[in-house]
């Protein structure tokens, strides 16, 4: 579904990502783990187009039709494409830090993720881009999934940290996609919510979704992931099934410095 080939990114003198290559297979949950500063979030930013790569290639394979958004068939080189172009190819992401539209309601935050009809002025002017019952239905459904039904009309800035996280997760899921990227979805979230989020991820996987996940909580990661890629100092250290990674001496050394 997604292939990163020899990705390189430096910020000034700091080499955040160096010759990083790995593959994300379809219909699986792949976890990207590693100590702080390993370059995981930079890889996410490179994939989603927020930062531009110095070298390397990212090939994305959109496998099915995504709502009204344009979708390519075969592997598309998405290296250094704009974030909105990448999003419209069917990629959705959750940020490490809460990034909701704070002045909008929960419902409007979700509505903006549903399609990209927002900029068609005449449609807006003639009332043809109405917020349809179908769209409202999918918003209600997703809010039920994240157990936030009663917060539909709340302004995003008034929500608690955990609630914001859930709305962001809902937005990432609602954004038409074939590939979902989640940057630390359970960081700072209480144990009950962690369980809710873990169940949501497993449900999505059961629906044949492809997920790439960054997470520091190893218990959570190993309970949901099918494949684990370990990064250290901007490179892929090792990759494999969770059970193999758990006991890999290189991984233990990277984390514990032994």
């Amino acid at each position: 579904m997604l292939t990163c080939l020899q990705l390189v990114k430096s910020f000034g003198g700091v080499k955040a990502v160096q010759s990083c290559s790995f593959e994300v297979k379809s219909n699986l949950i792949t976890a990207l783990i590693g100590p702080n500063g390993a370059g995981k979030s930079t890889v996410f930013n490179l994939i989603s187009g927020i930062v531009k790569a110095d070298a390397g290639k990212i090939i994305f394979q959109a496998s099915k039709q995504v709502s009204s958004k344009q979708v390519g068939g075969e592997g598309i080189n998405i290296t250094n494409k704009s974030p909105e172009a990448i999003s419209n190819l069917g990629m959705s992401r959750l940020f490490q830090k809460s990034r909701l539209f704070n002045n909008l309601t929960v419902k409007d935050n979700l509505l903006l993720a549903i399609d990209n009809e927002d900029t068609k002025f005449l449609k807006n002017l003639l009332g043809k881009n109405k917020i349809t019952k179908e769209k409202e239905g999918s918003i209600k459904q997703i809010l039920k999934l994240v157990e936030m039904e009663s917060f539909e009309n709340h302004i995003a800035r008034d929500l608690s940290f955990g609630q914001k996280r859930l709305v962001e997760l809902a937005r990432a899921i609602l954004n038409p996609h074939t590939f979902l990227m989640l940057d630390e979805p359970v960081a700072g979230v209480n144990p009950k919510l962690r369980e809710v989020i873990a169940n949501i991820l497993l449900e999505l996987k059961a629906k044949q979704e492809t997920i790439l996940l960054i997470e520091h909580d190893m218990h959570f990661t190993f309970s949901v992931a099918d494949w684990v890629v370990v990064m250290q100092e901007g490179k892929v250290l090792v990759e494999g099934k969770p059970d193999e990674i758990k006991n890999n001496p290189k991984v233990l050394e990277a984390y514990l410095g032994e």
């Binding site: 909105e84 419209n88 909701l100 539209f101 002045n103 909008l104 903006l112 993720a113 881009n129 954004n175």
Partner: protein, 290 residues
């Protein structure tokens, strides 16, 4: 006297608010000060003068053409100038300097093409104002108040009820996340310039009809609109409207005590007071300036 000053204040406020709302919409979304909004206002007035007074077109057709051209003019400034700067990762300060350069350029072009003398559109003959609760108000002044109220209501509906408006607010809130949600920020910027410049066009036409046309009219109105927007809370469209009405009222009530030549001084004194004691304005949030 009181009602007359109140009416005068409301009329001045309505004009300032038209200028400030478009300017504030652009500032909130694109995050830079678009001073070239001034010449867009002036050009709308001059376009009306060109089509109606010089070319003899039907008055209403001339008005529609002038507003459409003002909208396209604003869009052209964004696409041909600001977009190029954004592609080169220019900071908001560079864009501000570019907007100043455009303001001077277009003001000079108006001067070259239309001359420095004051122009009169001459559609409305000097009308005898009707008396309303002790104040004299002309039909055109009633039109100014009604037209601005209708435009503000439409702008409110656009921002709150349509998906385009919600997308504009989303881009104003967080450009990066908007892009991740698949919203094309460049398209949103284009629409913001079209809408802001359309409102500016209406303001230019109303001022052109009520007063006269002169090349610097856009700059003077822009300064008042900018002051209104700062008083109301820069980046907040309702704040800009509120601040502009406040400015119009204070300016007009001020001349109850001071000679009318001090009108502009009053505006700047209020601006300084706000910048010193409430820099975030009436409706602005403290962290917005960060």
């Amino acid at each position: 006297m009181f009602t007359q000053l109140l009416v005068n204040g409301l009329i001045a406020g309505a004009i300032y608010a038209l200028v400030a709302s478009g300017f504030s919409l652009i500032y909130a979304t694109c995050k830079f000060v678009h001073f070239a909004h001034g010449p867009v206002i002036a050009l709308a007035g001059y376009f009306l003068y060109l089509f109606f007074s010089l070319l003899g077109l039907n008055f209403w057709i001339a008005i529609i053409l002038a507003i459409i051209l003002a909208a396209f003019f604003g869009l052209a400034i964004n696409v041909l100038v600001y977009k190029k700067f954004r592609q080169r990762k220019a900071s908001p300060v560079i864009l501000l300097i570019a907007s100043f350069a455009l303001l001077i350029l277009f003001e000079s072009l108006i001067l070259i093409f239309f001359g420095a003398d004051v122009k009169t559109i001459g559609f409305i003959k000097i009308a005898k104002g009707s008396e309303f609760a002790g104040a004299i108000i002309t039909p055109l002044q009633i039109v100014i108040i009604i037209a601005s109220a209708v435009l503000f209501a439409l702008l409110f509906l656009l921002m709150k009820k349509t998906k385009l408006g919600k997308a504009m607010r989303a881009v104003a809130d967080n450009k990066q996340v908007s892009e991740i949600c698949g919203i094309s920020t460049e398209k949103i910027y284009n629409w913001v310039f079209i809408i802001g410049s359309t409102i500016a066009g209406v303001a230019g036409i109303l001022v052109g009809l009520e007063q006269n046309l002169e090349p610097t009219m856009g700059t003077s109105l822009m300064i008042k609109g900018f002051t209104g927007a700062v008083i109301g809370g820069i980046g907040s469209v309702p704040g800009a409207i509120l601040g502009s009405f406040l400015l119009g009222l204070v300016e007009n009530f001020g001349i109850w005590f001071l000679p009318s030549g001090y009108k502009d001084a009053i505006a700047f004194i209020i601006l300084f007071i706000f910048l010193l004691f409430r820099p975030q304005g009436i409706l602005g949030k403290k962290n917005q300036s960060n």
